[in-house]
């Protein structure tokens, strides 16, 4: 670079994007997915589920204060966090699977950024008009009409954003109660702060940042590029069929592409799919709909822009028969991902059904290891934590199984049973005593088993632990 040249620009202003309205099969699919995902998001906290008077009646509730996760008939306690870990691993593997089979299908259809931006585009189109009207408005002076339209749009966006942030907090507390508290100003400050932050992110990300989030802020496009291969089904342009592109009636020297820019005009990230695979492309497939529409009008077969594997393009160009789409999808990688995903899924489901409503952890008190009592017997102490995950208060009997003639006593309880309220944990100090001169009293270690039994349902659970005797010389 010579010194006389003008220095290069290191920063670029954002190019505004004005996607044109489009209709077609993928647009319809996207409407459906938007309806379902937004529906799930906004409605879920309001679904009621009867768990009795003592427990929350919200079907899906993340009760952080009491450390419980309620999901319809499933209740997850903190010690069962592996379910959450398992679900996160499944989510990761699921994304690997979908990306290697169908490319950035998550980005195109179900990513919240895409869904909300799509919703905001719809509002924008409804208030300001389609692409050309919006372009004109963008370039127009700030007169009353422009201000009216802009303010209307922003207000509607803001309402959607508030509803989005508002719906989020309902997952963490009883929704009807919280709504009243929010309106009357009595909700916890964390609720208002959360709503504020999510309102701001929704408003800014959906209304103004849009494709900038996908291109510059999200790491997923970078990761996905490494997961796609030549068999991955993705949105692509049939270069061999379309080129050389050109307008005009005489098509003898030209391909199918009439260079109408319909695919460019509908693109929400402002790219030209005919340039090939690009980092910016979220594979929303709206260009397919737009192009199919044009092809129908000019009397050409659909699919100049289409879902296809990158190998298909080369195959078709060489005149070879196309590979069946299922052959692209069922290949070693996707089968391995599916196998891993299902294994974890089946494992978690089995765990869910075999897990017990009662649980016990035993923490031997090893400070000191043992206590000598006045008659010479040896006593060990155990902190036994009983979890009553049922919906009824119940008495729990603690017993032990051992060849040694141990005695068992509970601190503060006359017998060997203790009452534990529903949905709670009880810490019970348990004493195990080896008689004087008995083998266990003089041996360093004696293993035994604690049993806890819910006396109303006869559910049982056990934990193995160790008794420490007096060290004899």
């Amino acid at each position: 670079m010579s010194a006389t040249e003008e220095p290069q620009k290191l920063y670029a202003a954002r190019e505004p994007v004005f996607p044109k309205r489009v209709s077609g099969r993928f647009r319809n699919l996207k409407w459906l997915i938007m309806l379902v995902t937004l529906g799930i998001y906004y409605v879920t906290p309001w679904i009621r589920w009867d768990r009795g008077p003592e427990l929350p009646s919200q079907a899906v509730l993340l009760d952080l204060a009491n450390r419980r996760f309620f999901f319809f008939w499933i209740e997850i306690w903190p010690h069962e966090f592996y379910f959450v870990a398992g679900l996160l691993i499944m989510a990761g593997l699921g994304l690997f699977l979908f990306t290697s089979a169908l490319g950035r299908v998550w980005c195109g259809y179900s990513c919240p950024q895409t869904v909300w931006t799509d919703l905001f585009f719809t509002v924008e189109r409804w208030i300001e008009g389609d692409r050309n009207a919006r372009l004109r408005l963008w370039n127009a002076r700030w007169d009353l009409r422009k201000m009216r339209l802009r303010v209307t749009k922003w207000v509607v966006w803001l309402l959607i954003a508030v509803a989005t942030g508002g719906a989020w907090v309902f997952y963490f507390a009883d929704a009807p109660t919280l709504l009243v508290q929010l309106v009357t100003g009595q909700a916890a400050s964390v609720a208002y702060v959360t709503i504020g932050i999510l309102t701001a992110t929704t408003f800014v990300f959906g209304g103004f940042m849009r494709e900038q989030i996908c291109i510059y802020a999200c790491p997923w496009p970078r990761i996905q590029a490494a997961m796609m291969d030549e068999d991955t089904i993705t949105v692509a342009y049939r270069d061999w069929r379309g080129e050389p592109r050109g307008r005009g009636k005489d098509r003898t020297a030209l391909g199918d592409c009439i260079d109408c820019n319909a695919c460019v005009n509908v693109c929400p990230v402002g790219i030209d799919i005919r340039d090939g695979q690009q980092l910016e492309c979220i594979t929303c497939a709206l260009c397919i709909d737009a192009c199919d529409d044009i092809m129908a009008k000019v009397g050409k077969p659909r699919g100049l822009i289409d879902y296809m594997a990158l190998t298909d393009e080369a195959h078709e160009r060489a005149g070879k028969p196309t590979v069946n789409v299922w052959k692209h999808i069922f290949r070693l990688r996707t089968i391995i991902y599916t196998a891993l995903w299902s294994t974890i899924g089946i494992g978690l489901t089995v765990l869910l059904f075999v897990r017990s409503d009662i649980d016990m952890t035993v923490a031997p008190v090893r400070n000191p290891q043992y206590v000598v009592l006045s008659d010479g017997s040896i006593r060990n102490t155990y902190d036994v934590r009983i979890r009553n995950m049922t919906h009824d208060e119940s008495a729990f009997a603690i017993t032990l199984v051992s060849d040694a003639p141990f005695d068992l006593e509970l601190e503060g309880q006359p017998g060997n049973s203790v009452s534990v309220p529903l949905n709670s944990t009880h810490l019970q100090r348990v004493y195990v005593i080896a008689p004087p001169e008995s083998e266990a009293a003089g041996r360093e270690r004696t293993d035994f088993r604690f049993w806890v039994e819910d006396l109303s349902t006869n559910t049982r659970s056990y934990t193995d632990t160790t008794f420490f005797g007096r060290e004899t010389e």
Partner: protein
């Protein structure tokens, strides 16, 4: 791709040198110019402004005697202090209750909230003030004569009221007339070496340990003449005097011949400070704290 017809337009642009490049070329590889979005730059400036505002509002710059305090007067130490105050206010009712109810009524069944508060608070107080001698697990230190509080043997009684009294007044305090005061004679010079040897064997005998039977039978008379006044004729001790039970398996200072002989010759004078601020000027704990510790110690397995 030499065939021009098949050259992709984007590729053609590249061949023509049309795309924006930095002008850097290495072995024919050109570097595209992909300028950073401008909002990114503004975000950077924004964070710089944020940092300046933050350091003005909050404690930030380290100086010789601490950091700049910041305009908002934020202090994590004050937050902790106010949190502690808030919890103390929340527990004020329980603290009042615990000093008013009968100690024996603080049980998991009769008053679970009060019991939990006493156990938790008592454990914290015990760790702070009692564990230095009695150990963090309350098992005591035999070599130094700090009693094990977990077993079922008590010098001055193991009911919750006994424990409360001992904690309040301590052991062997000159400045608290109510304090327990045990006094064993040092028999060095009073008893002959033979008498001491025989009474040691006698004590080994009544506590069921290995002993010299001949010496032990001779020791019985020595015991009845000199020791039984406090330890009683059968050696089971007297809690009123703080005289330990010598027949059980628990030894305050150890049950070996050497340990017993040392005790007979020199006596032992264990002390414990008075903890009640009401009972003694040296007392450091409030009545609520003492009652909590009493409930806690009583719950450790030895409570009567």
């Amino acid at each position: 791709m030499s065939d021009h017809k098949n050259t992709h337009p984007e590729e053609q642009k590249l061949l023509d040198g049309d795309p924006d490049t930095t002008g850097h070329v290495w072995d024919g590889i050109k570097e595209f110019n992909n300028p950073l979005p401008r909002w990114w730059l503004w975000t950077l400036y924004g964070t710089i402004v944020w940092a300046v505002v933050y350091t003005v509002l909050y404690p930030a710059w380290p100086l010789v005697n601490g950091a700049t305090p910041g305009l908002l007067g934020f202090s994590t130490r004050e937050n902790v202090a106010s949190d502690i105050l808030r919890f103390e206010e929340m527990n004020a009712d329980l603290r009042t209750q615990i000093t008013e109810v009968e100690l024996a009524a603080i049980t998991p069944d009769r008053s679970p909230d009060l019991y939990n508060y006493a156990i938790q608070g008592g454990a914290a107080t015990f760790a702070t003030w009692c564990s230095q001698c009695h150990g963090s697990g309350a098992a005591g230190v035999q070599a130094s004569g700090y009693p094990n509080l977990l077993d079922d043997d008590w010098l001055w009684g193991g009911t919750i009221d006994d424990i409360h009294f001992t904690i309040s007044h301590g052991i062997r305090n000159e400045d608290d007339l109510d304090a327990h005061y045990s006094e064993m004679t040092a028999f060095e010079g009073i008893l002959s070496d033979e008498e001491i040897a025989s009474v040691v064997q006698y004590v080994r005998n009544i506590s069921g340990q290995e002993h010299d039977a001949e010496l032990a039978s001779a020791g019985e008379t020595v015991f009845l003449d000199n020791c039984a006044a406090c330890h009683l004729d059968d050696g089971t001790g007297d809690r009123f005097l703080g005289a330990p039970n010598l027949t059980d398996a628990i030894w305050l200072y150890g049950g070996s011949e050497e340990a017993i002989e040392y005790t007979v010759r020199n006596s032992r004078f264990g002390i414990m400070p008075p903890w009640s601020a009401d009972a003694s000027p040296a007392g450091r704990l409030s009545e609520a704290e003492i009652r909590s510790v009493a409930v806690y110690v009583h719950s450790l397995g030895g409570g009567e």
